[in-house]
Structures are given as structure tokens and as C-alpha cells.
């Protein structure tokens, strides 16, 4: 399968006051289309930084980042925003839903950036909520949902615009084991049945087992790559 994510000699440095910290050192990885990759490693290893680069939220200090056929490190801020809207769905550890909006309004947010009609947007939102099994909770606000339900809404929001890639940052980090497993099964289903490429950062080895590949980072470098059954 062709690589949907390809990083070559990527360096990422941050400046904290007078100090410059290199978080990623000459990192090169490739992720195939349709893959489900778990990014693992200790705190400070650069997992989230790598995820941010793949998701187009940040730019490398050096090196090339190719995602979904686009050299995204060379895009302007405006181009990058459009690119994210078209190609990437984000799932965060703490769901990051808009507390004042209902589930369906939250899911609709990415579609506001498209030219779809109101009726079409509604249709797509219902479909996305149905995929995550929350069609009947459409009118509920985040505060009225459990953690697992809120994360499902967040996944529906990530899916609704039919992105090329799903980027998940500790999606089960705030959930109990049973709920976490439900969410991971859902991600696995999206990967297997809907062909979504997923890159997921996790600390949890059990969560990583749901992925088809695991990439381990330590001190900004790739330690090993393993294929999981």
C-alpha cells in the first residue's frame, strides 16, 4: 500500500526562554494508507509533537512532511487550515467538545467550512452519529453525556467530513477500561470497515494492541516499529 504519511529527516525544536530544546531528531517514518498506527513512548518522547506535525497543527524546524499527497510543511497558515479541514479528523483526550452546543451541533462544526446545504449537513451529521452509535443523543449537550459518549461525539465530529486521516491524541486517556475498549473497538471498526487511516498516541499498551502497527518513540527518535497481529 502507498504511504499516506511520510516524514523525512524531521527535526523539531522548541525555544523555552533562552533554551532551545530539540524534541524530534532527524525522524523519518512512513505510514501506509489504511493503517492503524499506535504511537507509544514515555512522556516527553515527542509523540504529541509528531502527531501535531502529521495533523498539520505544527510545522517542523527542518525536514519534509508529506501527508495525503501534500507537502504540508510548505503550506501557508491559511492553506494548512483548509488542508486540515479537508484531510484530517482530530480526536483529543478530553474530547474538546463545545460545551454550549448539542452533540449534533458539535458534529456539524467541520461541515460549516464546506459548501454543503443545511439539509445535507444535517444528513451527514445523523450518519456520523449513527456510525458511533449515538443517533438518539443528538440533542444532548456534552454535560449531559458520559465520558464515553462524549468521546463518541468527538469521533463523529472527526469523521463527519470524511477525512483521509484520523489523528487521535490519547483518545482513551480519560476513560475507564470498559469504555476505553468500546472506543478502541469503534476506532478499529472505522479502520477496518471504513478504511480510515488512524494515527493514535497512547501510553496504554492495551490500547496500542488495537492498532495494526506500533511505533515507539524515545527522546525524539524512533526506537522500534512492530506489526501487531
Amino acid at each position: 500500500m502507498s504511504a499516506i504519511v511520510s516524514l523525512h529527516n524531521v527535526v523539531k525544536t522548541y525555544t523555552r526562554g533562552k533554551q532551545t530544546v530539540e524534541v524530534l531528531h532527524n525522524l523519518s517514518i512512513e505510514i501506509a494508507q489504511g493503517d492503524f498506527v499506535a504511537l507509544m513512548g514515555p512522556s516527553g518522547s515527542g509523540k504529541t509533537t509528531l502527531l501535531n506535525l502529521i495533523g498539520g497543527l505544527d510545522r517542523p524546524s527542518k525536514g519534509e512532511v508529506n501527508v495525503a499527497g501534500e507537502r504540508i510543511d510548505q503550506l501557508s497558515s491559511g492553506q494548512l487550515a483548509k488542508w486540515r479541514a479537508r484531510h484530517v479528523g482530530f480526536v483529543f483526550q478530553f474530547y474538546n467538545l463545545m460545551p454550549m452546543l448539542s452533540a449534533e451541533r458539535n458534529v456539524e462544526l467541520p461541515l460549516l467550512l464546506t459548501n454543503l446545504s443545511s439539509a445535507r449537513r444535517k444528513q451527514n451529521v445523523q450518519a456520523a452519529l449513527a456510525v458511533v452509535g449515538l443517533a438518539e443523543r443528538a440533542k444532548h449537550k456534552p454535560a449531559e453525556l458520559s465520558g464515553g459518549q462524549a468521546q463518541r461525539v468527538a469521533i463523529a465530529r472527526a469523521l463527519v467530513a470524511d477525512p483521509t486521516l484520523l489523528v487521535c491524541d490519547e483518545p482513551t486517556g480519560d476513560l475507564d477500561r470498559t469504555t476505553a475498549d468500546e472506543i478502541l473497538h469503534l476506532l478499529q471498526m472505522l479502520n477496518k470497515d471504513h478504511g480510515k487511516t488512524i494515527v493514535m498516541v497512547t501510553h496504554d499498551p492495551k490500547a496500542a494492541e488495537f492498532a495494526s502497527h506500533q511505533l515507539h518513540l524515545d527522546k525524539g527518535q524512533l526506537v522500534e516499529g512492530s506489526v501487531h497481529a
Binding site: S77, P99, L101, L112
Partner: protein, 380 residues
């Protein structure tokens, strides 16, 4: 329109804070509507002043009366078509709150110099021939339910009779209309001859003359001629156009325009801080949410527009409510100021001020949202 639910929900994210801010802006715009409305209505009345008419008053003060005998001399001047006169009666009906704009006049002269006041001929004849007759504006008649044939008692705060009473009784013989300006239908005219005979003091005097000129382009020369006529006499005059007279009359109350401007500047300066603070706070506590929107693909400019729109929605909504309340309450001022309705121009000015307020208070938080670094913001 598709962003409206997002904007609306964001606005009500902190209900109490939004309601308080909304109330502050509503009150400010209510004040704006009332004050600017009065100011505008007065200015409009001044602008509507007739160019054919001059007003001659005492050069000492508006409250100094002039000899009635001066009228013949003024009327004899070249360029003068007709002269009428009036005197401030300063009366109320039953209760001091029920102030009535009342003036003793000579019927024929009054309705000839002020042709915009429409009175049926038979009513004018009745006015001329009824010593205690009075002609009242249609609006005044409606207000107190007065009709032709009614006897109306007024209490003057200035003019007493020889028996030391200040109560005057009049017979309503006519009701005039002013189809071009309904706000000018609240006066109470009665016969000068009755007034002059019955008053205890000031006999043979009138308050001011209204001089109708034959050619408006000659107004300045006629005004000079009138004042020259009485120069170095015990009753020197000051003649000015009706517009200048009305402006001077309003200045007796105070420079309304200046007072209104100062009050409104103060109010809006305070409002700027109140609304600006709300917007800054609102954006500050939503940094992670704004970062999520950017993550989803909202552009920097889109974020700027979103936060600015929020500010516009808040300010324009509140301004609309405040101006609407002012518009509803405005007719209540009619008794005091003779103004019937708030000029539309005030609504337009109010909305422009609201947009300006929204821009000034919204631009800094909007700029902050525009420049928000996603990674930093998500990290918290």
C-alpha cells in the same frame, strides 16, 4: 447564517454575564435613543422653521414684554406682509403636571401668519366673535377629551386677574390641525382682547411679534429695519428669523446638543470598558475551544470574523432592544417637549454607534483569536 447557531450559543455560554452586559448596553442605548431623539426632534423643528417669518422680541430678554402699539409701526415697514403676536401664558390644567402650551393671540392675525395651522372658517369666525373663545390643537383635544362647546379652566402660573385669582375659563370654539407636522397640534390659543382686559398687570403688552415678510430673501433687511425702528427706545427689540428664534429659545433650556453629546460620550466610554472586558474575558476562557475550531480548519481570518461577529451580535442586539424601548417610551415625552415620535435618523445613528462599539470592543479579542497558536492553546 450557517454560523448563527454557533454565535448564538457562544453568546449565551455564560448566561448571567451576557444578561448583565446586555442590560448595560440596552440601558445605554435607551438613554441614547431618548436623549438623541429629543435633540434630533428639536433640531428637526428648528429646520422646519418657516423662512417667511421673523420673530421680534425684547432685546433685553425673551421674558420682557413689548408694547402692543409697536405692531402698527412694524406692519407699516416695507417688506412686511402681516404681523401677529403671542404671549407666554404658562398655564396648566387641573394639575401642574398637565402643562398646556397656551397663548393669547389675535385670531385672524395668528391663522393668517401661520397658514400651516388649518382651522375651518366657521370655527375661526366663532373664535373671533367669542370673547372667551379658545382654539386648541387636535392632539391636545384628544389628550384631555376636549371638544367644541366645552368650558375649560386653566390655571396660569404667571397671569392673575384683578381679584388675585389665576384661574381662567375658556370656551372651546375650534380645533386646528397641522397636517405637515402633527407634533405641532398641542397649543391652546385664546383671545388676546379677553386676556388683556382681564389681567391684573402688564396691560397693553405682548410677548413677541411674528413678522411675515413678503420676500424671504429680504428677511435680513426687514429684521434690521424693525430693530432700527425701536433703537434707543425704552423697548428695544431683537429681530431674528424663526429658526434663530427657536434655536435661542432652546438655548434658554440649555445647549441641549452639547449636554446630550457630553452625557453620551460619558456613557459610551463606560460602555466601552464594560463590553470590552466581557469580550476579553469571554475569549480568554474559551482559548482551548477556539484552538479546537482552528484545529478543525477554521482559518485565522475566520476566527477573527467569528469573534468580531460575536461582538457585533451582542452590541447590535442590545442596541436594538434599547432603541426599541426608547422608541416605545418616546411618546411619553410629548407632554413635556411637544415631540411626538422618535426620528428614524436616531435609530440609524444608534445602529451605527452599536457597530462602532462592537468593532472597538471586539477587535482586540478577535485579533487574539486570530493569532492563537493551536499547539500552545491545546497544551493549556
Amino acid at each position: 447564517m450557517k454560523y448563527f447557531p454557533l454565535l448564538w450559543a457562544t453568546l449565551w455560554r455564560k448566561k448571567a454575564r451576557t444578561i448583565f452586559t446586555l442590560c448595560v448596553i440596552v440601558i445605554a442605548f435607551l438613554l441614547f435613543g431618548m436623549l438623541q431623539g429629543v435633540n434630533s426632534a428639536f433640531n428637526q423643528a428648528v429646520e422646519r422653521a418657516n423662512v417667511n417669518r421673523l420673530v421680534t422680541t425684547s432685546s433685553i430678554a425673551l421674558t420682557e414684554n413689548l408694547p402692543y402699539a409697536d405692531m402698527t409701526q412694524i406692519e407699516a415697514l416695507p417688506g412686511v406682509a402681516r404681523v401677529s403676536h403671542a404671549t407666554w401664558f404658562g398655564a396648566y390644567y387641573q394639575d401642574p403636571k398637565n402643562f398646556v402650551f397656551s397663548f393669547p393671540v389675535e385670531p385672524e392675525r395668528e391663522f393668517s401668519v401661520f397658514p400651516e395651522l388649518k382651522l375651518p372658517k366657521e370655527q375661526l369666525d366663532a373664535f373671533i366673535h367669542t370673547r372667551t373663545g379658545a382654539v386648541i390643537g387636535a392632539d391636545l383635544a384628544r389628550k384631555y377629551g376636549w371638544k367644541i362647546g366645552d368650558r375649560v379652566p386653566l390655571h396660569s402660573t404667571i397671569w392673575t386677574k384683578p381679584d388675585n385669582t389665576s384661574d381662567w375659563t375658556f370656551d372651546v370654539v375650534g380645533i386646528y390641525e397641522n397636517p405637515d407636522d402633527r407634533s405641532q397640534e398641542s397649543a391652546f390659543f385664546f383671545n388676546y382682547s379677553y386676556f388683556d382686559e382681564a389681567r391684573a398687570f402688564g396691560k397693553g403688552k405682548i410677548g413677541w411679534y411674528t413678522v411675515q415678510v413678503k420676500d424671504p430673501t429680504q428677511s435680513a433687511q426687514v429684521a434690521i429695519a424693525v430693530d432700527k425702528l425701536f433703537a434707543n427706545s425704552p423697548d428695544e427689540t431683537k429681530t431674528e428669523t424663526e429658526k434663530e428664534f427657536q434655536q435661542a429659545f432652546l438655548k434658554q433650556i440649555g445647549d441641549i446638543n452639547l449636554i446630550v453629546t457630553y452625557i453620551l460620550i460619558g456613557v459610551f466610554f463606560a460602555l466601552l470598558f464594560a463590553t470590552g472586558n466581557t469580550m476579553m474575558q469571554s475569549v480568554r476562557e474559551r482559548i482551548p475551544e477556539l484552538a479546537v475550531l482552528k484545529t478543525l480548519g477554521f482559518s485565522d481570518t475566520g476566527m477573527l470574523a467569528l469573534v468580531l461577529s460575536e461582538s457585533i451580535l451582542l452590541c447590535v442586539l442590545a442596541a436594538f432592544l434599547g432603541l426599541f424601548a426608547a422608541w416605545m417610551m418616546f411618546p411619553a415625552l410629548k407632554d413635556y417637549l411637544g415631540v411626538v415620535k422618535m426620528p428614524t435618523q436616531v435609530i440609524v445613528e444608534g445602529i451605527v454607534v452599536a457597530l462602532l462599539l462592537a468593532f472597538i470592543t471586539g477587535i482586540f479579542p478577535a485579533w487574539r483569536a486570530k493569532r492563537l497558536d493551536i499547539v500552545e492553546a491545546l497544551r493549556g
